[in-house]
Protein backbone atom coordinates (compact mmCIF):
# COMPACT_ATOMS: atom_id res chain seq x y z
CA UNK A 1 0.00 0.00 0.00
CA UNK A 2 1.33 3.42 -0.87
CA UNK A 3 1.89 6.18 1.66
CA UNK A 4 -1.02 8.42 2.66
CA UNK A 5 1.09 11.53 2.32
CA UNK A 6 4.46 11.83 0.61
CA UNK A 7 6.65 14.89 0.90
CA UNK A 8 9.54 15.04 -1.50
CA UNK A 9 12.36 17.56 -1.05
CA UNK A 10 9.77 20.07 0.12
CA UNK A 11 10.96 23.63 0.70
CA UNK A 12 9.29 26.94 1.45
CA UNK A 13 10.91 30.33 1.52
CA UNK A 14 8.60 33.23 2.31
CA UNK A 15 9.27 36.40 0.33
CA UNK A 16 11.46 38.84 2.19
CA UNK A 17 12.91 36.26 4.56
CA UNK A 18 16.56 35.31 4.41
CA UNK A 19 16.19 31.71 5.59
CA UNK A 20 13.74 29.12 4.36
CA UNK A 21 10.90 28.15 6.69
CA UNK A 22 11.06 24.57 5.45
CA UNK A 23 14.15 23.10 3.80
CA UNK A 24 14.32 19.93 1.74
CA UNK A 25 11.93 17.87 3.83
CA UNK A 26 11.20 14.38 2.55
CA UNK A 27 8.81 12.23 4.55
CA UNK A 28 6.42 9.36 3.90
CA UNK A 29 3.43 9.30 6.23
CA UNK A 30 1.75 5.90 6.29
CA UNK A 31 -1.99 5.26 6.33
CA UNK A 32 -3.41 4.86 9.82
CA UNK A 33 -0.49 6.21 11.81
CA UNK A 34 -0.35 9.17 14.13
CA UNK A 35 2.61 11.07 12.76
CA UNK A 36 3.83 13.80 15.05
CA UNK A 37 5.88 16.66 13.68
CA UNK A 38 7.76 17.96 16.70
CA UNK A 39 9.74 21.12 17.02
CA UNK A 40 10.06 24.41 18.84
CA UNK A 41 8.21 27.45 17.55
CA UNK A 42 9.70 28.74 14.31
CA UNK A 43 10.94 25.31 13.31
CA UNK A 44 8.68 25.33 10.24
CA UNK A 45 6.28 22.61 11.35
CA UNK A 46 3.09 24.64 10.87
CA UNK A 47 4.24 25.72 7.43
CA UNK A 48 4.88 22.07 6.62
CA UNK A 49 1.34 21.15 7.65
CA UNK A 50 -0.17 23.92 5.54
CA UNK A 51 1.66 22.70 2.48
CA UNK A 52 0.00 19.30 2.89
CA UNK A 53 -3.47 20.76 2.26
CA UNK A 54 -2.27 23.45 -0.10
CA UNK A 55 -2.94 26.46 2.13
CA UNK A 56 0.68 27.37 1.46
CA UNK A 57 2.33 26.78 -1.89
CA UNK A 58 5.75 25.16 -1.66
CA UNK A 59 8.68 27.02 -3.20
CA UNK A 60 10.08 23.75 -4.45
CA UNK A 61 9.58 20.03 -4.00
CA UNK A 62 6.28 18.23 -4.03
CA UNK A 63 3.43 17.02 -1.85
CA UNK A 64 1.41 13.97 -2.83
CA UNK A 65 -1.76 12.99 -1.00
CA UNK A 66 -2.77 9.36 -1.54
CA UNK A 67 -0.42 9.19 -4.47
CA UNK A 68 -1.75 12.34 -6.12
CA UNK A 69 0.62 15.31 -6.43
CA UNK A 70 -1.09 18.52 -5.25
CA UNK A 71 0.67 20.52 -7.95
CA UNK A 72 -1.27 18.57 -10.59
CA UNK A 73 -4.65 19.58 -9.16
CA UNK A 74 -6.81 22.41 -10.41
CA UNK A 75 -8.32 24.80 -7.86
CA UNK A 76 -11.56 22.83 -7.99
CA UNK A 77 -9.86 19.49 -7.53
CA UNK A 78 -7.87 20.85 -4.60
CA UNK A 79 -11.10 22.04 -2.97
CA UNK A 80 -12.65 18.63 -3.53
CA UNK A 81 -9.64 17.00 -1.85
CA UNK A 82 -9.98 19.38 1.11
CA UNK A 83 -13.67 18.61 1.43
CA UNK A 84 -13.43 14.84 1.34
CA UNK A 85 -9.91 13.65 2.06
CA UNK A 86 -8.66 15.80 4.90
CA UNK A 87 -9.82 18.04 7.67
CA UNK A 88 -7.86 20.40 9.88
CA UNK A 89 -8.00 21.20 13.58
CA UNK A 90 -6.51 24.51 14.71
CA UNK A 91 -4.56 25.64 17.77
CA UNK A 92 -6.81 28.68 18.12
CA UNK A 93 -9.89 26.47 17.54
CA UNK A 94 -10.97 28.88 14.72
CA UNK A 95 -14.66 28.30 15.40
CA UNK A 96 -17.19 30.55 13.72
CA UNK A 97 -18.55 32.78 16.50
CA UNK A 98 -21.97 33.42 14.93
CA UNK A 99 -22.70 29.75 14.34
CA UNK A 100 -24.09 27.38 16.93
CA UNK A 101 -21.99 24.42 18.01
CA UNK A 102 -24.06 22.22 15.70
CA UNK A 103 -23.69 24.51 12.69
CA UNK A 104 -19.97 24.77 13.36
CA UNK A 105 -19.67 21.00 13.28
CA UNK A 106 -21.71 20.90 10.08
CA UNK A 107 -19.56 23.56 8.37
CA UNK A 108 -17.45 21.21 6.28
CA UNK A 109 -20.52 19.37 5.03
CA UNK A 110 -22.20 22.67 4.22
CA UNK A 111 -19.18 23.65 2.14
CA UNK A 112 -19.41 20.28 0.40
CA UNK A 113 -22.96 21.19 -0.57
CA UNK A 114 -25.05 18.87 1.63
CA UNK A 115 -28.57 20.14 2.40
CA UNK A 116 -29.25 21.14 5.99
CA UNK A 117 -31.19 18.05 7.06
CA UNK A 118 -28.50 15.74 5.70
CA UNK A 119 -25.53 17.55 7.15
CA UNK A 120 -26.91 17.88 10.67
CA UNK A 121 -27.03 14.12 11.23
CA UNK A 122 -23.28 13.45 10.87
CA UNK A 123 -22.52 16.73 12.65
CA UNK A 124 -24.63 15.67 15.61
CA UNK A 125 -23.09 12.22 15.65
CA UNK A 126 -19.59 13.74 15.67
CA UNK A 127 -20.53 16.08 18.52
CA UNK A 128 -21.97 13.21 20.53
CA UNK A 129 -18.77 11.25 19.94
CA UNK A 130 -16.65 14.02 21.44
CA UNK A 131 -19.04 14.39 24.36
CA UNK A 132 -20.96 17.50 23.34
CA UNK A 133 -24.36 15.97 22.61
CA UNK A 134 -26.01 18.33 25.11
CA UNK A 135 -24.49 21.60 23.88
CA UNK A 136 -25.67 21.57 20.27
CA UNK A 137 -27.37 24.96 20.30
CA UNK A 138 -24.87 26.99 22.31
CA UNK A 139 -22.50 29.47 20.71
CA UNK A 140 -18.75 28.67 20.88
CA UNK A 141 -18.12 31.59 23.24
CA UNK A 142 -20.35 29.92 25.82
CA UNK A 143 -18.01 26.91 26.02
CA UNK A 144 -14.71 26.39 27.85
CA UNK A 145 -11.48 26.08 25.85
CA UNK A 146 -11.45 22.30 26.04
CA UNK A 147 -15.04 22.08 24.90
CA UNK A 148 -14.37 24.53 22.07
CA UNK A 149 -11.60 22.30 20.79
CA UNK A 150 -13.96 19.34 21.02
CA UNK A 151 -16.18 21.29 18.62
CA UNK A 152 -13.13 21.89 16.41
CA UNK A 153 -12.45 18.14 16.44
CA UNK A 154 -16.11 17.34 15.74
CA UNK A 155 -16.09 19.77 12.82
CA UNK A 156 -13.26 17.72 11.32
CA UNK A 157 -14.73 14.32 12.25
CA UNK A 158 -18.15 15.13 10.79
CA UNK A 159 -16.56 14.81 7.35
CA UNK A 160 -15.23 11.36 8.24
CA UNK A 161 -11.92 12.21 6.54
CA UNK A 162 -9.19 9.61 6.05
CA UNK A 163 -6.63 12.26 6.98
CA UNK A 164 -6.67 14.58 10.00
CA UNK A 165 -4.32 17.56 10.13
CA UNK A 166 -3.91 18.82 13.66
CA UNK A 167 -1.99 22.07 14.11
CA UNK A 168 -0.92 22.26 17.75
CA UNK A 169 -4.50 21.25 18.38
CA UNK A 170 -4.15 20.77 22.13
CA UNK A 171 -1.38 23.27 22.88
CA UNK A 172 -3.73 26.02 24.07
CA UNK A 173 -5.42 23.77 26.63
CA UNK A 174 -4.71 23.19 30.33
CA UNK A 175 -2.50 20.12 31.00
CA UNK A 176 -5.36 18.05 32.42
CA UNK A 177 -7.73 18.90 29.56
CA UNK A 178 -4.90 18.31 27.11
CA UNK A 179 -4.48 14.78 28.46
CA UNK A 180 -8.22 14.17 28.11
CA UNK A 181 -8.10 15.31 24.50
CA UNK A 182 -5.08 13.10 23.79
CA UNK A 183 -6.99 10.16 25.23
CA UNK A 184 -9.98 11.09 23.10
CA UNK A 185 -7.81 11.13 20.00
CA UNK A 186 -6.29 7.74 20.90
CA UNK A 187 -9.78 6.32 21.50
CA UNK A 188 -10.96 7.64 18.14
CA UNK A 189 -7.92 6.12 16.54
CA UNK A 190 -8.65 2.76 18.18
CA UNK A 191 -12.19 2.85 16.75
CA UNK A 192 -11.22 3.86 13.25
CA UNK A 193 -7.67 4.31 12.11
CA UNK A 194 -7.07 7.56 10.28
CA UNK A 195 -3.86 9.11 9.11
CA UNK A 196 -3.20 11.86 11.64
CA UNK A 197 -0.52 14.47 11.10
CA UNK A 198 -0.12 16.09 14.47
CA UNK A 199 1.97 19.21 14.98
CA UNK A 200 3.25 19.71 18.51
CA UNK A 201 5.96 21.43 20.48
CA UNK A 202 5.27 19.25 23.51
CA UNK A 203 7.64 16.29 23.66
CA UNK A 204 5.60 14.34 26.20
CA UNK A 205 2.56 14.73 23.97
CA UNK A 206 4.53 13.57 20.93
CA UNK A 207 5.79 10.48 22.74
CA UNK A 208 2.39 9.74 24.22
CA UNK A 209 0.35 9.78 21.02
CA UNK A 210 2.87 9.44 18.21
CA UNK A 211 3.41 6.22 16.31
CA UNK A 212 6.27 8.04 14.68
CA UNK A 213 7.86 11.41 15.33
CA UNK A 214 9.69 13.73 12.97
CA UNK A 215 11.85 16.13 14.93
CA UNK A 216 12.24 19.48 13.19
CA UNK A 217 14.66 22.32 13.76
CA UNK A 218 15.21 25.41 11.57
CA UNK A 219 13.05 23.98 8.80
CA UNK A 220 14.85 20.65 8.59
CA UNK A 221 13.96 17.21 9.88
CA UNK A 222 16.69 16.14 12.30
CA UNK A 223 15.41 12.61 12.69
CA UNK A 224 12.27 10.64 11.97
CA UNK A 225 11.31 7.43 13.71
CA UNK A 226 9.35 5.81 16.51
CA UNK A 227 9.56 7.49 19.91
CA UNK A 228 11.79 4.66 21.06
CA UNK A 229 14.20 5.03 18.14
CA UNK A 230 14.58 8.73 18.79
CA UNK A 231 15.06 8.09 22.49
CA UNK A 232 17.47 5.21 22.33
CA UNK A 233 19.31 5.94 19.10
CA UNK A 234 19.44 9.71 18.60
CA UNK A 235 20.98 10.59 15.25
CA UNK A 236 22.73 13.70 16.50
CA UNK A 237 23.58 15.58 19.69
CA UNK A 238 20.64 17.95 18.95
CA UNK A 239 18.18 15.07 19.03
CA UNK A 240 19.75 13.75 22.21
CA UNK A 241 19.46 17.20 23.78
CA UNK A 242 15.76 17.34 22.90
CA UNK A 243 15.07 14.08 24.70
CA UNK A 244 17.21 14.84 27.72
CA UNK A 245 14.38 15.64 30.08
CA UNK A 246 12.04 12.92 28.93
CA UNK A 247 10.68 10.42 31.43
CA UNK A 248 12.15 7.30 29.85
CA UNK A 249 10.12 5.02 32.06
CA UNK A 250 6.97 6.15 30.28
CA UNK A 251 8.39 5.31 26.86
CA UNK A 252 10.47 2.18 27.31
CA UNK A 253 8.90 -1.21 27.97
CA UNK A 254 10.48 -4.23 29.64
CA UNK A 255 11.36 -5.92 26.36
CA UNK A 256 13.71 -3.03 25.62
CA UNK A 257 15.69 -3.32 28.87
CA UNK A 258 15.85 -7.12 29.26
CA UNK A 259 18.79 -8.95 30.82
CA UNK A 260 19.55 -12.55 29.94
CA UNK A 261 18.39 -15.22 32.35
CA UNK A 262 21.12 -16.18 34.79
CA UNK A 263 20.20 -19.88 35.05
CA UNK A 264 17.52 -21.86 33.29
CA UNK A 265 16.39 -25.42 33.70
CA UNK A 266 14.44 -27.21 30.99
CA UNK A 267 12.12 -29.70 32.59
CA UNK A 268 11.13 -32.82 30.62
CA UNK A 269 7.39 -33.35 30.23
CA UNK A 270 5.79 -34.96 33.28
CA UNK A 271 8.74 -34.42 35.64
CA UNK A 272 8.11 -32.87 39.05
CA UNK A 273 10.08 -29.65 39.56
CA UNK A 274 9.55 -29.76 43.32
CA UNK A 275 11.62 -32.96 43.48
CA UNK A 276 14.75 -31.12 42.44
CA UNK A 277 17.10 -29.42 44.85
CA UNK A 278 19.12 -26.75 43.00
CA UNK A 279 22.40 -25.21 44.18
CA UNK A 280 21.27 -21.78 43.01
CA UNK A 281 18.21 -19.91 41.80
CA UNK A 282 17.01 -21.17 38.43
CA UNK A 283 14.10 -20.47 36.04
CA UNK A 284 12.21 -23.55 35.00
CA UNK A 285 10.89 -23.93 31.46
CA UNK A 286 9.03 -26.49 29.41
CA UNK A 287 10.88 -27.88 26.36
CA UNK A 288 8.95 -25.33 24.24
CA UNK A 289 10.24 -22.46 26.37
CA UNK A 290 7.11 -21.74 28.41
CA UNK A 291 7.79 -20.42 31.87
CA UNK A 292 6.75 -22.80 34.68
CA UNK A 293 8.19 -21.27 37.80
CA UNK A 294 11.32 -20.68 39.87
CA UNK A 295 13.35 -23.10 41.91
CA UNK A 296 15.07 -21.44 44.83
CA UNK A 297 17.61 -23.09 47.14
CA UNK A 298 15.96 -21.40 50.14
CA UNK A 299 12.27 -21.44 49.28
CA UNK A 300 11.99 -24.47 47.05
CA UNK A 301 9.48 -24.54 44.20
CA UNK A 302 7.64 -21.29 43.29
CA UNK A 303 4.93 -21.58 40.65
CA UNK A 304 4.69 -19.12 37.76
CA UNK A 305 1.66 -17.34 39.26
CA UNK A 306 3.52 -16.53 42.45
CA UNK A 307 6.79 -15.62 40.73
CA UNK A 308 5.63 -12.12 39.74
CA UNK A 309 6.23 -12.56 36.00
CA UNK A 310 5.46 -9.54 33.77
CA UNK A 311 4.53 -9.16 30.13
CA UNK A 312 7.29 -7.76 27.94
CA UNK A 313 5.10 -4.85 26.72
CA UNK A 314 4.60 -3.42 30.22
CA UNK A 315 6.11 0.06 30.53
CA UNK A 316 9.08 0.46 32.83
CA UNK A 317 7.19 2.90 35.06
CA UNK A 318 4.35 0.43 35.52
CA UNK A 319 6.77 -2.36 36.44
CA UNK A 320 8.63 -0.51 39.20
CA UNK A 321 6.39 -1.67 42.07
CA UNK A 322 6.61 -5.37 41.13
CA UNK A 323 10.32 -5.40 40.36
CA UNK A 324 11.26 -3.50 43.51
CA UNK A 325 9.40 -5.93 45.82
CA UNK A 326 10.49 -9.12 44.12
CA UNK A 327 13.11 -11.15 46.06
CA UNK A 328 14.42 -12.54 42.74
CA UNK A 329 14.92 -11.07 39.26
CA UNK A 330 11.50 -10.50 37.71
CA UNK A 331 10.86 -12.89 34.81
CA UNK A 332 9.64 -11.22 31.61
CA UNK A 333 7.37 -13.20 29.27
CA UNK A 334 6.10 -12.72 25.73
CA UNK A 335 2.43 -13.06 24.87
CA UNK A 336 2.80 -16.87 24.66
CA UNK A 337 4.25 -16.94 28.20
CA UNK A 338 7.70 -17.85 26.93
CA UNK A 339 10.56 -16.57 29.08
CA UNK A 340 12.44 -13.78 27.32
CA UNK A 341 14.71 -12.68 30.13
CA UNK A 342 14.65 -10.97 33.50
CA UNK A 343 14.67 -7.47 34.93
CA UNK A 344 16.42 -6.59 38.16
CA UNK A 345 15.86 -3.48 40.31
CA UNK A 346 19.39 -2.44 39.50
CA UNK A 347 18.70 -2.60 35.76
CA UNK A 348 15.55 -0.56 36.27
CA UNK A 349 17.39 2.18 38.14
CA UNK A 350 20.11 2.32 35.48
CA UNK A 351 17.46 2.70 32.78
CA UNK A 352 15.73 5.57 34.52
CA UNK A 353 19.03 7.28 35.33
CA UNK A 354 20.20 7.37 31.69
CA UNK A 355 17.55 9.95 30.99
CA UNK A 356 18.86 12.46 33.56
Amino acid sequence: MSSAITLDALSKRFPGQSTAAVQQVSLAIEPGEIFVVMGLSGSGKSTLLRMINGLIQPSSGSVAVRGQPLSDLSKRELNRLRRHAMAMVFQSFALFPQRSVLDNAAFGLEVAGLPRTKRLVPAKRALERVGLGQQLHLKPAQLSGGMQQRVGLARALALDPPILLMDEAFSALDPLIRRDMQDLLLDLQAEQRRTVVFISHDLDEAIRIGDRIALMQSGQVLQCGTPLELLTAPASPEVRAFFKGVDRGSVLNLEQILEPCPQTLVLPDGADPAARAPQQLCFVLTPSGEFLGILSPQEGWIQADAAGALDSKVLVNDAIAVVARSPWPTPVLDHQRRLLGVVTPRRLLETLREGG
Binding site: N53, L55, L78, N79, R80, L81, R82, R83, A87, M88, F90, S92, A94, F96, P97, Q98, R99, F107, G108, E110, V111, A112, R155, L159, L165
Partner: protein
Protein backbone atom coordinates in the same frame (compact mmCIF):
# COMPACT_ATOMS: atom_id res chain seq x y z
CA UNK B 1 11.04 86.90 -9.79
CA UNK B 2 7.36 87.61 -10.18
CA UNK B 3 7.89 88.23 -13.87
CA UNK B 4 8.73 84.61 -14.51
CA UNK B 5 5.52 83.42 -12.92
CA UNK B 6 3.23 86.00 -14.48
CA UNK B 7 1.95 83.84 -17.38
CA UNK B 8 1.31 80.92 -15.03
CA UNK B 9 -0.58 83.06 -12.54
CA UNK B 10 -2.59 84.62 -15.34
CA UNK B 11 -3.61 81.25 -16.66
CA UNK B 12 -4.63 80.12 -13.17
CA UNK B 13 -6.88 83.11 -12.66
CA UNK B 14 -9.47 81.69 -14.95
CA UNK B 15 -10.17 77.98 -14.99
CA UNK B 16 -6.73 76.37 -14.99
CA UNK B 17 -5.67 73.47 -17.21
CA UNK B 18 -7.39 71.04 -14.84
CA UNK B 19 -10.61 73.01 -14.85
CA UNK B 20 -10.52 73.29 -18.62
CA UNK B 21 -10.19 69.59 -19.09
CA UNK B 22 -13.10 68.95 -16.69
CA UNK B 23 -15.16 71.44 -18.69
CA UNK B 24 -14.24 69.58 -21.84
CA UNK B 25 -15.08 66.24 -20.31
CA UNK B 26 -18.54 67.38 -19.20
CA UNK B 27 -19.16 68.86 -22.63
CA UNK B 28 -18.06 65.63 -24.31
CA UNK B 29 -20.37 63.64 -22.05
CA UNK B 30 -23.24 66.01 -22.88
CA UNK B 31 -22.69 65.53 -26.58
CA UNK B 32 -22.03 61.81 -26.67
CA UNK B 33 -23.64 60.25 -23.62
CA UNK B 34 -27.19 61.47 -23.89
CA UNK B 35 -28.62 58.00 -24.51
CA UNK B 36 -26.98 56.51 -21.44
CA UNK B 37 -27.97 59.45 -19.28
CA UNK B 38 -31.52 59.11 -20.48
CA UNK B 39 -31.69 55.50 -19.34
CA UNK B 40 -30.04 56.29 -15.98
CA UNK B 41 -32.35 59.25 -15.50
CA UNK B 42 -35.49 57.25 -16.20
CA UNK B 43 -34.37 54.40 -13.95
CA UNK B 44 -33.62 56.65 -11.00
CA UNK B 45 -36.77 58.65 -11.58
CA UNK B 46 -38.82 55.44 -11.48
CA UNK B 47 -37.14 54.32 -8.27
CA UNK B 48 -37.69 57.69 -6.59
CA UNK B 49 -41.33 57.85 -7.71
CA UNK B 50 -42.05 54.33 -6.51
CA UNK B 51 -40.49 54.99 -3.11
CA UNK B 52 -42.27 58.34 -2.78
CA UNK B 53 -45.60 56.78 -3.72
CA UNK B 54 -45.11 53.85 -1.35
CA UNK B 55 -44.13 56.03 1.60
CA UNK B 56 -47.08 58.38 1.05
CA UNK B 57 -49.52 55.47 0.91
CA UNK B 58 -50.15 54.92 4.64
CA UNK B 59 -51.91 57.67 6.60
CA UNK B 60 -49.45 59.68 8.74
CA UNK B 61 -50.75 58.16 11.99
CA UNK B 62 -50.33 54.65 10.62
CA UNK B 63 -46.83 55.49 9.42
CA UNK B 64 -45.89 56.89 12.83
CA UNK B 65 -47.27 53.88 14.66
CA UNK B 66 -45.39 51.56 12.28
CA UNK B 67 -42.11 53.39 12.92
CA UNK B 68 -42.81 53.32 16.68
CA UNK B 69 -43.42 49.57 16.64
CA UNK B 70 -40.29 48.92 14.58
CA UNK B 71 -38.37 51.20 16.95
CA UNK B 72 -39.74 49.39 19.98
CA UNK B 73 -38.63 46.02 18.60
CA UNK B 74 -35.23 47.11 17.29
CA UNK B 75 -34.17 49.78 19.76
CA UNK B 76 -36.37 50.15 22.82
CA UNK B 77 -39.41 51.70 24.47
CA UNK B 78 -37.92 55.17 24.96
CA UNK B 79 -37.04 55.45 21.31
CA UNK B 80 -40.54 54.28 20.28
CA UNK B 81 -42.05 57.09 22.35
CA UNK B 82 -39.60 59.62 20.86
CA UNK B 83 -40.39 58.63 17.29
CA UNK B 84 -44.14 58.80 17.96
CA UNK B 85 -43.86 62.30 19.47
CA UNK B 86 -41.32 63.45 16.87
CA UNK B 87 -43.40 62.39 13.89
CA UNK B 88 -46.46 64.01 15.48
CA UNK B 89 -44.53 67.24 15.79
CA UNK B 90 -43.57 67.07 12.10
CA UNK B 91 -47.23 66.53 11.23
CA UNK B 92 -48.32 69.42 13.46
CA UNK B 93 -45.78 71.72 11.77
CA UNK B 94 -47.39 70.86 8.43
CA UNK B 95 -44.13 69.35 7.18
CA UNK B 96 -45.32 65.77 6.69
CA UNK B 97 -45.25 65.81 2.92
CA UNK B 98 -41.79 67.38 2.56
CA UNK B 99 -40.50 64.91 5.15
CA UNK B 100 -41.84 61.94 3.17
CA UNK B 101 -40.26 63.40 0.00
CA UNK B 102 -36.92 63.75 1.77
CA UNK B 103 -37.20 60.22 3.14
CA UNK B 104 -37.88 58.88 -0.35
CA UNK B 105 -34.80 60.70 -1.70
CA UNK B 106 -32.64 59.43 1.17
CA UNK B 107 -33.81 55.87 0.74
CA UNK B 108 -33.39 55.93 -3.05
CA UNK B 109 -29.89 57.39 -2.82
CA UNK B 110 -28.88 55.07 0.03
CA UNK B 111 -30.21 52.04 -1.76
CA UNK B 112 -28.24 52.87 -4.89
CA UNK B 113 -25.15 53.70 -2.81
CA UNK B 114 -25.38 50.31 -1.09
CA UNK B 115 -26.00 48.46 -4.34
CA UNK B 116 -22.91 50.06 -5.89
CA UNK B 117 -20.75 50.47 -2.82
CA UNK B 118 -21.04 47.04 -1.23
CA UNK B 119 -19.75 45.08 -4.25
CA UNK B 120 -17.02 47.69 -4.69
CA UNK B 121 -15.91 47.19 -1.10
CA UNK B 122 -15.86 43.42 -1.56
CA UNK B 123 -13.97 43.78 -4.82
CA UNK B 124 -11.38 45.91 -3.05
CA UNK B 125 -10.51 43.02 -0.73
CA UNK B 126 -9.76 40.66 -3.62
CA UNK B 127 -6.70 42.37 -5.05
CA UNK B 128 -4.60 45.06 -3.51
CA UNK B 129 -4.28 46.99 -6.77
CA UNK B 130 -8.08 47.27 -7.06
CA UNK B 131 -8.22 48.92 -3.66
CA UNK B 132 -5.36 51.24 -4.63
CA UNK B 133 -7.52 52.29 -7.54
CA UNK B 134 -10.72 52.72 -5.53
CA UNK B 135 -9.34 54.57 -2.54
CA UNK B 136 -8.37 57.89 -4.14
CA UNK B 137 -11.79 57.92 -5.79
CA UNK B 138 -13.41 57.64 -2.38
CA UNK B 139 -11.24 60.44 -1.00
CA UNK B 140 -12.32 62.62 -3.90
CA UNK B 141 -16.01 61.84 -3.43
CA UNK B 142 -15.92 62.58 0.29
CA UNK B 143 -13.87 65.74 0.33
CA UNK B 144 -14.77 67.52 -2.90
CA UNK B 145 -17.17 70.31 -1.88
CA UNK B 146 -20.65 69.14 -2.80
CA UNK B 147 -21.57 72.35 -4.63
CA UNK B 148 -18.86 71.59 -7.19
CA UNK B 149 -20.57 68.52 -8.56
CA UNK B 150 -24.11 69.81 -8.12
CA UNK B 151 -23.51 71.92 -11.21
CA UNK B 152 -22.39 69.15 -13.61
CA UNK B 153 -25.16 66.96 -12.19
CA UNK B 154 -27.67 69.58 -13.29
CA UNK B 155 -25.98 69.93 -16.67
CA UNK B 156 -26.20 66.20 -17.26
CA UNK B 157 -29.55 65.40 -15.69
CA UNK B 158 -31.26 68.82 -15.48
CA UNK B 159 -32.89 69.74 -12.18
CA UNK B 160 -35.17 67.72 -9.91
CA UNK B 161 -35.00 64.49 -7.96
CA UNK B 162 -32.60 62.63 -10.31
CA UNK B 163 -29.53 64.91 -10.06
CA UNK B 164 -30.30 65.28 -6.36
CA UNK B 165 -30.15 61.52 -5.90
CA UNK B 166 -26.98 61.24 -7.99
CA UNK B 167 -25.21 63.99 -6.09
CA UNK B 168 -26.33 62.38 -2.82
CA UNK B 169 -25.20 58.99 -4.00
CA UNK B 170 -21.69 60.28 -4.71
CA UNK B 171 -21.42 61.86 -1.29
CA UNK B 172 -22.95 58.97 0.67
CA UNK B 173 -21.25 55.99 -0.98
CA UNK B 174 -17.70 56.12 0.50
CA UNK B 175 -18.60 54.85 4.01
CA UNK B 176 -20.25 51.67 2.79
CA UNK B 177 -17.31 50.95 0.47
CA UNK B 178 -14.73 51.67 3.16
CA UNK B 179 -16.46 49.81 5.97
CA UNK B 180 -17.30 46.78 3.83
CA UNK B 181 -13.64 46.62 2.89
CA UNK B 182 -12.50 47.13 6.48
CA UNK B 183 -15.00 44.62 7.86
CA UNK B 184 -13.87 41.88 5.53
CA UNK B 185 -10.19 42.65 6.04
CA UNK B 186 -10.68 42.45 9.81
CA UNK B 187 -12.07 38.91 9.78
CA UNK B 188 -9.57 36.90 11.86
CA UNK B 189 -7.03 35.14 9.64
CA UNK B 190 -7.55 31.79 11.36
CA UNK B 191 -11.25 31.78 10.45
CA UNK B 192 -10.39 32.47 6.81
CA UNK B 193 -7.80 29.70 6.97
CA UNK B 194 -10.34 27.33 8.52
CA UNK B 195 -12.78 28.13 5.73
CA UNK B 196 -10.13 27.47 3.11
CA UNK B 197 -8.97 24.25 4.75
CA UNK B 198 -12.50 22.87 4.49
CA UNK B 199 -12.53 23.57 0.75
CA UNK B 200 -14.43 26.86 0.50
CA UNK B 201 -14.52 28.49 -2.91
CA UNK B 202 -13.97 32.26 -2.94
CA UNK B 203 -17.71 32.86 -2.98
CA UNK B 204 -18.38 30.37 -0.18
CA UNK B 205 -15.62 31.97 1.87
CA UNK B 206 -17.20 35.38 1.39
CA UNK B 207 -20.72 34.24 2.15
CA UNK B 208 -20.14 31.69 4.91
CA UNK B 209 -17.08 33.06 6.71
CA UNK B 210 -16.23 36.66 5.87
CA UNK B 211 -19.61 38.38 5.65
CA UNK B 212 -21.10 36.92 8.85
CA UNK B 213 -18.02 38.15 10.70
CA UNK B 214 -17.88 41.50 8.93
CA UNK B 215 -21.59 42.20 9.33
CA UNK B 216 -21.41 44.56 12.35
CA UNK B 217 -18.83 46.72 10.55
CA UNK B 218 -20.75 46.60 7.26
CA UNK B 219 -23.93 47.63 9.10
CA UNK B 220 -22.20 50.64 10.61
CA UNK B 221 -21.28 51.53 7.02
CA UNK B 222 -24.95 51.28 6.08
CA UNK B 223 -25.81 53.57 8.97
CA UNK B 224 -23.20 56.15 7.98
CA UNK B 225 -24.27 56.05 4.34
CA UNK B 226 -27.87 56.75 5.33
CA UNK B 227 -26.84 59.62 7.61
CA UNK B 228 -24.61 61.21 4.97
CA UNK B 229 -27.40 60.81 2.42
CA UNK B 230 -29.77 62.72 4.68
CA UNK B 231 -27.33 65.56 5.20
CA UNK B 232 -26.72 65.82 1.45
CA UNK B 233 -30.38 65.59 0.46
CA UNK B 234 -31.01 68.82 2.37
CA UNK B 235 -28.32 70.57 0.32
CA UNK B 236 -29.70 69.26 -2.98
CA UNK B 237 -32.81 71.39 -2.48
CA UNK B 238 -30.71 73.98 -4.33
CA UNK B 239 -31.00 71.95 -7.51
CA UNK B 240 -34.66 71.21 -7.02
CA UNK B 241 -34.40 68.07 -4.92
CA UNK B 242 -37.41 69.19 -2.94
CA UNK B 243 -38.47 67.98 0.50
CA UNK B 244 -37.37 69.44 3.83
CA UNK B 245 -34.36 71.07 2.18
CA UNK B 246 -36.82 73.27 0.31
CA UNK B 247 -38.35 74.42 3.56
CA UNK B 248 -34.94 75.27 5.01
CA UNK B 249 -33.89 77.00 1.78
CA UNK B 250 -37.09 79.07 1.72
CA UNK B 251 -36.46 80.08 5.33
CA UNK B 252 -32.98 81.29 4.37
CA UNK B 253 -34.09 83.10 1.21
CA UNK B 254 -36.96 84.88 2.95
CA UNK B 255 -34.92 85.50 6.10
CA UNK B 256 -37.70 83.62 7.90
CA UNK B 257 -35.75 82.25 10.87
CA UNK B 258 -38.81 80.47 12.26
CA UNK B 259 -39.55 78.58 9.03
CA UNK B 260 -35.92 77.57 8.62
CA UNK B 261 -35.86 76.37 12.20
CA UNK B 262 -39.02 74.30 11.73
CA UNK B 263 -37.52 72.62 8.68
CA UNK B 264 -34.30 72.05 10.61
CA UNK B 265 -36.11 70.37 13.51
CA UNK B 266 -37.94 68.04 11.11
CA UNK B 267 -34.56 67.07 9.58
CA UNK B 268 -33.16 66.34 13.02
CA UNK B 269 -36.14 64.18 13.97
CA UNK B 270 -35.86 62.22 10.73
CA UNK B 271 -32.11 61.88 11.25
CA UNK B 272 -32.46 60.47 14.76
CA UNK B 273 -35.11 57.99 13.62
CA UNK B 274 -33.05 56.81 10.64
CA UNK B 275 -29.89 56.58 12.73
CA UNK B 276 -31.35 54.55 15.59
CA UNK B 277 -33.35 52.27 13.32
CA UNK B 278 -30.42 51.48 11.05
CA UNK B 279 -28.19 50.91 14.09
CA UNK B 280 -30.85 48.66 15.55
CA UNK B 281 -30.62 46.45 12.48
CA UNK B 282 -26.99 45.64 13.21
CA UNK B 283 -26.54 42.14 14.67
CA UNK B 284 -23.95 43.24 17.24
CA UNK B 285 -26.30 45.94 18.50
CA UNK B 286 -29.14 43.49 18.85
CA UNK B 287 -27.02 40.97 20.72
CA UNK B 288 -26.08 43.62 23.25
CA UNK B 289 -29.70 44.61 23.65
CA UNK B 290 -30.79 41.11 24.59
Amino acid sequence: MSGAFAPLIASLEQAGPVGQSVDAAVEWLLNHGQGLFGVVQQGIQALASALGWGLALPAPWLFAVGVAIAGWRLVGGGFALFSLLGLNLVLALGLWEPMVDTLALVLAASLLALLLGFPLGVLGTRQRWIWRLIRPGLDLMQTMPAFVYLIPAVMLFSTGAVPAIIATLIFAMPPIVRLTHLGIRQVPADLVEAGRSFGCTDLQLLWMVQLPNALPTVMSGVNQTIMLALSMVVITSMIGGGGLGDVVLRGIQQLDVGLGFEGGIAVVILAVILDRLSQGLSPSHRRKGQ
